[in-house]
Symmetry: C2
C-alpha cells in the first residue's frame, strides 16, 4: 500500500477524523495508529453495507466510491500516524 | 462512567484487544485512547446487530450480554488508556 497516496486521499477524511487522525467529534473514531488490517476491514464493511444505523450511514457514503487501492492506501496512511 | 469497573470488566476483552488496549491481532482494532463516545456507539452497534459480516459476528456475541453501564464503563476505561 502507498501511504503517501493515502495521505492525498485522506484530505476528505480530515473533516471528521482530524487532519492528524484524531477525531475532534467524540462520536467519531480516532484513526491515528489504528491497526492497518482493521482499517481495511472496517472500510470494506461500510462499503459493503455491513455497518448500518446512525452515523454508519454517513461513513457508508464516504466509503462507497473508494477503490480497493484507495482503501489500502488510506489504511496505510492512518496506521502510520502516531 | 466508572473506568475502574470498566477495567474489571475488560478482562474478557484483553484476549483480542490486548490487556493494554493494543490488539495483537491486526484485524482487530486498538482501543487504547479511542474516543469514549465512539466506543459506546460501536459497542451498541454490535449489540443491536447493526454491524454484521465476518468478525463482527464474534464481537456481537461479546457485546450481547453487556448492560448500558458495562458499556459506559468499558468505554471510559479504554479511552483512558494511552
Amino acid at each position: 500500500a502507498d501511504a503517501a497516496a493515502g495521505k492525498a486521499k485522506a484530505v476528505m477524511c480530515a473533516a471528521c477524523h482530524g487532519a492528524d487522525g484524531k477525531a475532534q467529534i467524540p462520536t467519531y473514531p480516532n484513526l491515528a495508529g489504528q491497526n492497518e488490517a482493521y482499517l481495511v476491514s472496517a472500510m470494506n464493511a461500510y462499503k459493503k453495507g455491513e455497518r448500518t444505523g446512525g452515523q454508519a450511514a454517513i461513513m457508508a457514503g464516504m466509503a462507497a466510491p473508494l477503490s480497493d487501492a484507495d482503501i489500502a492506501n488510506l489504511a496505510a496512511y492512518f496506521a502510520s500516524l502516531k
